[in-house]
């Protein structure tokens, strides 16, 4: 099908974009890789699309390697492909490249934006969970001004955030990976690049004697909003080589509450949570030890 008729504007400043978004039924268009299918399937029919691609200053990746505010700030027009190939960003927060490589296919990653997929708040999106796992936040511009919103206050439900128009999410901030930490990210999908049946992103932090002090995980396509689960109690204080990652997987299975759908039953998703948790934690811990 084709999109229903709409009006289109491509403002060249954020103020103009916000003014246009103040009108009834106006919607932001950034990469469009989730929005355009919704339009073509007529699941959405906004009155006006406000294309922010010509708004200057939104297409940068700012990396702060250390100190206060260490992390990666990703502008609203940064494409997944740009973040995937950003070596400096990958060094400060390796989950960014690891997760973006799982976002759809190269042609989608060339166009789709990381911030757009976060603002879209799809529980099967990779970057929503990465924002949660890293303890990140988004910056939201409204006609009244700009403010930071913590990830936990941003995601309200599937495809729903606490932010309402007129507003533009201008960037997402992913804090740096702490010292003596490792990460891993893995998905299971029916076909390469499809939405994950289940995915897991994890971080493991060790103390100076290489004993586990923290093991945390966030999942893809599990739950209605991104959730971060602390699995430390299953492996705390154990050296990397002796940690029982299967026990952490069992704990994770008991903490999640996935839904079943056309693609997978709830039980299968829960099984995958255990398998992926065990696998990714072991890998992340090894990375933390080698770092």
């Amino acid at each position: 099908m084709k999109p229903a008729p709409f009006g289109y504007a491509d403002p060249t400043s954020l103020d103009e974009a916000l003014a246009l978004l103040s009108e009834e039924g106006a919607k932001v268009l950034a990469g469009g890789q989730s929005l355009l299918p919704l339009l073509s399937m007529r699941l959405a029919s906004p009155a006006t699309l406000v294309d922010i691609n010509k708004v200057p200053g939104l297409d940068t990746v700012d990396v702060t390697p250390s100190g206060d505010g260490a992390g990666v700030r990703v502008g609203a027009l940064v494409r997944h492909a740009q973040l995937l190939h950003h070596a400096e960003a990958a060094q400060v927060q390796p989950l960014l490249a690891r997760a973006t490589s799982n976002v759809a296919h190269p042609a989608i990653r060339n166009r789709g934006t990381t911030v757009g997929s976060i603002a879209h708040a799809d529980p099967s999106g990779e970057m929503t969970s990465v924002l949660a796992l890293t303890g990140g936040s988004v910056t939201v511009a409204t006609p009244e001004g700009s403010s930071a919103i913590d990830w936990a206050d941003f995601f309200v439900g599937p495809l729903e955030t606490s932010v309402h128009s007129p507003a533009v999410v201008t960037d997402a901030f992913f804090p740096a990976l702490p010292p003596r930490s490792g990460t891993a990210f893995e998905e299971v999908s029916r076909r390469k690049g499809d939405y994950a049946v289940c995915g897991a992103g994890v971080t493991v932090t060790l103390d100076e004697d290489s004993r586990v002090v923290s093991a945390r995980a966030a999942y893809i396509s599990v739950g209605l909003v991104p959730e971060v689960h602390d699995l430390t109690e299953a492996v705390a204080g154990r050296p990397v080589a002796e940690a029982d990652w299967a026990a952490a997987g069992d704990l994770a299975r008991s903490l999640v509450d996935p839904d079943g759908d056309l693609h997978a039953s709830a039980d299968y998703r829960r099984l995958l949570v255990g398998v992926l948790t065990e696998r990714t934690l072991a890998r992340a811990a090894k990375e933390a030890a080698d770092r």
Binding site: M1, K2, P3, A4, P5, F6, G7, Y8, A9, D10, P11, T12, E16, A19, L20, L29, G32, Q33, L36, P37, L39, S40, M41, T48, L49, D51, N53, A104, H105, P106, A107, I108, N110, R111, R191, K192, G193
Partner: protein, 172 residues
């Protein structure tokens, strides 16, 4: 203040030729290419970004043309499958290595998905260092986003390896 339009005049350089047309703003790039510019080489399969048949290059980068509005490519260079072969200077054309490889490896059956595969593969192979041998993982990454309803994937992957080989020979 920027106007809200329902129709826009756009100028796009398609396969090296500047083209001007006026489109309703809801026109998808895939439809603009086929209906407004009569370039029917770009095929439209699913119309929601799943099949990859409509893949074209915008400023050299592969994108799904059904997931881009025509107004958004105003001022850019678009390459479709019609622009993949080079002129040989004597009124004929020299096939792109991926086209050559598709022919050699019998990588098309009904041909519906072929334009999307060719564009995706051409861009994917041109982005890599041609002097190295292509790995199976690279091939999967390049072709993984396109569907072939004849399920002719074995030969398509073979053609991808062959095209990489042809490009390696050309680079030597």
């Amino acid at each position: 203040m920027t106007d809200v339009s329902t129709e826009r005049a756009i100028t796009v350089t398609v396969n090296g030729v500047p083209r001007e047309t006026t489109v309703p703003v809801r026109r998808l790039l895939s439809d603009a290419l086929r209906h407004d510019l009569q370039l029917t080489g770009t095929h439209v399969g699913c119309e929601h970004g799943v099949c990859g048949a409509c893949t074209v290059l915008v400023d050299g980068t592969p994108v799904r043309s059904c997931l881009v509005l025509a107004v958004q490519v105003d001022g850019t260079e678009v390459t479709t499958v019609e622009g993949l072969a080079r002129e040989d200077g004597q009124g004929g054309q020299i096939l792109h290595p991926v086209q050559e490889a598709f022919r050699e490896c019998h990588a098309l059956q009904c041909g519906f998905c072929t334009p999307g595969f060719l564009m995706t593969m051409a861009a994917g192979l041109e982005a890599r260092d041609p002097s190295t041998d292509i790995t199976d993982d690279e091939v999967d990454e390049i072709v993984g986003g396109n569907l072939c309803r004849c399920t002719g994937y074995a030969n398509i992957k073979k053609a991808c390896r062959r095209a990489a080989g042809l490009m390696k020979e050309a680079a030597e």
